[in-house]
Amino acid sequence: MVDIKSEYEWISNQNLKQFRGKWIAVFNKKIISSGKYAHEVAKKAKEQIKETPFLIKVPLEGYISV
């Protein structure tokens, strides 16, 4: 079972400039897929992991900091 809180804290401390405005899928402190639309990112994530994918929308402007 993935620790979502820990994953979210980890991603909040990453430089996500290249993903601005995109969806990213995070698993075990790695970005395993990214893209403009959620269904594409979810599909790519499911091809790589058996666990429930965790998708985050990276804001177009600014950066996340939990």
């Binding site: 979502i4 809180k5 979210y8 909040s12 403009k36 639309y37 959620a38 269904h39 594409e40 990112v41 979810a42 599909k43 499911k46 429930t52 994918p53 965790f54 998708l55 985050i56 929308k57 804001p59 177009l60 402007e61 600014g62 950066y63 996340i64 900091s65 939990v66």
Partner: protein
């Protein structure tokens, strides 16, 4: 008032042009019928009547987003057609304080709108008293969902 339990979250801090914006964002598991669930970060949106998902989020859950719209939602930028559906949501803290329920949602017919899935007042604000503690010192700035 005694609550059954409290779920406390830190605000997600967005730094925009040097200013810090606090947003109440929650990781929520969504599941449609017997399809595989997906966890999304969702904005707890006290200004939204219902939970609102974009077409691409709806597609990812296996919802038929190409069917005829059931309704329209009206916002500050105009209106958009939506499909009415129900999905199971699940979120919480630890293994005991987990909230799980099927809730009504609306799915737009536009990819990427809304930009982030919005968790509206129905059903969440009937199930929880929601406290936005933005006026506290930084280490105590939290939003808390207290189960009624």
């Amino acid at each position: 008032m005694a609550y059954k339990y409290n779920i406390s979250y830190n605000f997600t801090r967005y730094v925009v042009k040097g200013k810090i914006i606090l947003r109440p964002i929650i990781p929520v598991e969504l599941k449609y019928k017997d399809n595989d669930p997906i966890i999304y970060t969702m904005l707890l949106d006290s200004g939204a009547d219902l939970t609102l998902l974009s077409k691409d989020v709806g597609d990812s859950l296996g919802i038929d987003t190409d069917k005829k719209a059931d309704d329209n939602v009206y916002g500050v930028t105009g209106h958009t057609p939506v499909i009415d559906e129900k999905v199971k949501i699940k979120f919480g803290m630890g293994s005991r304080n987990i909230f799980e329920k099927e809730i009504p949602v609306q799915i737009t017919k536009i990819q990427g709108r809304p930009a982030i899935p919005a968790l509206g007042r129905e059903t969440i604000f009937r199930e929880f008293d929601v406290h936005f503690r933005m006026g506290q010192p930084k280490d105590k700035q939290k939003f808390v969902l207290s189960k009624v």
